[in-house]
Symmetry: D2
Subunit: 362 residues, 4 copies
């Protein structure tokens, strides 16, 4: 008899949601995608063609979907603003839950999901930090964990998007939490992974500019940000995020230890093709985040599914998602206030709370 | 209603067969793997654990498997020596057939499969030239097809295996057809793809050495071979194959045109990790062919399946497999005879047939 | 008649001084090296073998050397602590002067050289920012200057030394001015070059750790430092310096503009050799700064010499050296104080002066 | 007293000659360039500006130049057709001689220089195989010599020029000896270096096409050639030469041994700059041979000079130049005749001499 499959639903069928849906449907051997929710008629239309023929029931009401008979797990891939709410509802409806990152743009919002999960310890609740499932990052982690670079001490990481001349991300910035919460949240999560989930932040400081989209200032955001995180115990992470990479998506990380360095994706490339032309030698790079992490999402879907079915330990703790948002939000505040923010050795904030002026202004 | 799935069986569950089986089982959305055959008890034992639980019926008799109710397609992934026979049986049993490369180590053997397929034009019969499904090769082809390098004129390609100190490939050489048929067959197929399937060979010449496995001479084979193929119309392909790459598998190709060059996999790498160590900067490369072409096999499975179900044109013609064997076998003969072999403008051989001495000797 | 040569003396024959001496002696066509000074008997012994045979007069007293008949120019390559003093003496003795970087570890010290130079406008006085003469940096500058990346907006640069287990640099740190003045001074100078020499600093902030040499704390220094510089007008530079690169020297820079990015030395390498070994593919990287910038020093010597002889404009202004020290010293202060330091739009410091505790402590 | 300098003359001030002249004049510490010869008024005009002011006496008669008082050494950098004649004259006039490659396009011509040199064993006579002085090739040789790749067994090397649409090389082909003598002579010399100067050729075979310059057929030449050399003892070299590289000069070599591989210049680049643009990531490569080997020529000049002055052993034997021409000319013959050429274990030719048809025709 074939192994049991996990009856799964997906919420949100936008750019990322649709990709998740197809991965759970076709590339996750032990998943049985049975339901999908979207409030958006265009997304539902897409689902009629791409999901329904495979037996996926479509819903325009999230609460209704949660009642779908036999449903065991929910993937939350909607807009960031409703992540926390939907994740909590799923947990309360006794469903396992994979919630896209960030759980929320605020620490409190993120913590509320953690609290709900704590109250239902039999459920698997995971934040979708896709890079944790990337084969290269895993290889890097394993090497570092084996001591190959000595004591990891300096961490550099960036999340840089291809320039989108449409300026789509300006409107998006209103709800994204800002570039450090939206983009660098991945890098922060990686820092916590590589340095140890129990690392305590000592200070954060950030600066940024609006090189291509001055309108971002309206939302207290920038299109290029640089930040530094100090951790207690002699560790530094420094981060860069950008919305204006000409060549394409370039997310990369390097971890410098006392005996070596590991770099992940120092030389991005779409594939293994190189062109020699009168202008020199050229290669292309992925146009977007998904182009870089396509396979990581597939692995994420499979591992989440296995963990639910077999009651396995998830590869990382949900509480890390709160830490990451705490640091990301502090960087974003530092960007806005112009102040460095300090924390004591327990992680308690020392710098007093910053009160933004009536109208945010960089 | 979900799209119909193709009821498929697999023959051969060795190294490559097992991988095919798992791909057809788990990573081919429209395939329903229903049967598997192997004469080998160890392979059957593996299948009991990995295939049977998913509803795959196991056979130790190929002919019996062909009678499995509802069976529509067969994947032949057994030893090279029985490829042609099994493929022909499958075709005669009215099954679509994906046969691993080469169809046979001889031109006649390969042609017999083509003849069988011609007699059953409603069936899809494809030779498993996996590189044709590789995203990088496809990208390269598409760029060249668009004229980006002018007229392709010189083609260099290599198939180089990691040194296997066990010498496994010595025994294997007895039936493989030799290094030009076993390894460079891929490169020859690529040359025919990039230069046009109707390219006519003008001459072939090859040399080789046994640098690490002198025993190969018993089978008229070598562990490092270099060959040159001239095509009528001013085109050259030169090939290298090796069984002794220290760092790992390195299969690569470059196509030089009158206005540019395209390289595929000039700088091999297992993943995106780079290590900086006291000895310098280092990256690892795949240990075997599958490590390089993993995703190509998945694509191959899907496209073959779709073509069968939807009666789509296969991405390349079966006759090319005969051409490739013709050239590969001629290179192997040139290696053994020490003679260059010439062909006229219709592809008819001009150089008289070589009669090997009683005991092959390089 | 052969073009006239510049009668030149060198002060300091330590590691860098000896290299300068040989460059001015053998690789600078229009230089006539006639004198050399060192207070160190070991260095003088070296000079007896390597310089004196070519007619270079040796001195153990700097002031005496300045009186050498016909002397026209002096290269100051002694310890940082006496750079300014020797440069000023040379200028007052009516000699052209190439002074190694930094002019001084303090703004006042550096300014005193500028003041002396201003009083002798007929003399060529240059600070030895060797990277300004590197072919790759010049190519990068020229491309950026031509607008190829749009408006340069984010600048990342690092100066990373190979780990020296001898801990030589700990003693050295007492007088070096700290890692941001000693190492990142190059990166700061590059930022000023690429952003325009008239760029006004808006803020600086820095953090650092002692991962391998805790003794550095005695001198208020670190072995790994990260700093951010904001410039007025929407430009950011972020810097990294390290004393513990396992693989070797890695100095690199990237400049991100609104339409592209230029990277200099993203993939360091000693030469064009790549090794494929059972452990993968490996290349070595230079062991020290000189291994990276060897040719830049030769170009520097030639261009300085030509400028003196032909009364040509120097490639960059001496005042930039003061700006660079101002920023480097501020980063070093921020590292020590833990505070971000701000400047108004004229570059006047806003943050009040930091008074270090009796004993510097990170 | 400064070390004695070698009184040197240069013959030929064309593209390469002029570069040699400047290297010997400005970048060779122990050389005193005192004379130069050219029959070409344009070259003499260039020398009036660039050499004469430095005390170089100019001649338009080679024999006259040889009589220049005190002359000790001659650099022959004229057209290939007069290399041998001028070298022999220099030797007979008792001068050391550095002769550009090839000594001659024929074996006999090359041998005549060797014979002259044998008769004057106190003189240093060297063929200008510039790659022997390249730091990367030397590093590769030294690693291989240390056993780092086991037994070198397969050698791949190419000399590929940037496409010159002017077709300059067509006229040039009349006297160059053909692409295998003119271009691949370097690769052949490298093969002899890496495999041992006493390696005995077993067979050669070559093919070629005229992809961009059909006129080359008039001279029995091609614009793209591929050749294979077998050496006795189980070693293979395979070579490629091209006149139509779009991106620029790409000369590279890889040596594959039983335990590893060494690659020289697998990824060519003009400098350390990489451009990220909307079309991807790009680097430029050198436009010509000199751009790749600039520093090797400087080293060559210095080492030749030192060897003459100090009676040191030259880095390689003159007889190798005959071997290289023997192999290169045989490849060129194979290209024209379409036949493989075989040699016995003493290197004596087995295949009978080919008599070209009245009008060479590929």
């Amino acid at each position: 008899m074939a192994p049991r499959k996990l009856k799964t639903a997906i919420s949100g069928l936008g750019r990322m949601g649709a990709r998740h849906a197809l991965n759970f449907l076709h590339r996750t051997p032990r998943c049985d995608l049975i339901a999908a929710f979207s409030p958006d008629p265009k997304e539902i239309a897409w689902a009629r063609t791409n999901l329904e023929p495979y037996g996926v029931h479509l819903y325009t009401n999230y609460d209704e979907m949660l009642k779908h008979p036999g449903l065991e797990a929910v993937v939350v891939a909607t807009a960031t603003t409703v992540h926390a709410e939907q994740a909590i509802k799923a947990i309360k409806a006794n469903k396992h839950c994979l919630c896209e990152k960030p759980l929320s743009t605020t620490v409190q919002g993120s913590q509320s999901v953690v609290d709900a999960a704590k109250a239902a310890p039999h459920l698997k609740v995971m934040c979708g930090f896709s890079r944790r499932f990337d084969a290269s990052y895993r290889d890097a982690f394993s090497r570092i964990d084996d001591g190959s670079i000595g004591r990891p001490s300096v961490f550099r990481s960036q999340t840089c998007d291809k320039l989108d001349p449409s300026g789509f991300f300006v409107a998006y910035a209103e709800f994204s939490g800002g570039i450090f919460v939206d983009c660098n949240i991945h890098d922060i999560d990686l820092a916590l992974w590589f340095y140890g989930q129990d690392s305590i932040v000592k200070s954060v400081v950030a600066v940024g500019i609006t090189a291509v989209q001055p309108e971002l200032r309206r939302h207290g955001d920038v299109d290029n940000g640089v930040g530094i995180i100090e951790f207690w115990g002699g560790k530094i992470a420094y981060l860069y995020s950008s919305r204006m990479m000409a060549a394409g998506q370039h997310d990369m990380t390097e971890v410098i230890g006392t005996e070596g360095k590991i770099t992940v994706n120092g030389n991005p490339s779409t594939n293994l093709v190189e062109m020699s032309e009168p202008t020199g030698i050229r290669r292309e790079i992925p146009g977007d985040y998904y182009g870089r992490f396509r396979e990581a999402f597939v692995t994420e879907a499979s591992e989440f599914t296995e963990a639910c079915l077999e009651n396995l330990k998830l590869p990382f703790k949900l509480t890390g998602a709160v830490q990451a948002v705490k640091i990301g939000a502090a960087l974003q505040e530092s960007l806005r206030s112009g102040k460095k923010i300090e924390f004591d050795e327990t992680g308690r904030r020392l710098t007093e709370e910053w009160v933004p002026p009536a109208k945010a202004k960089l």
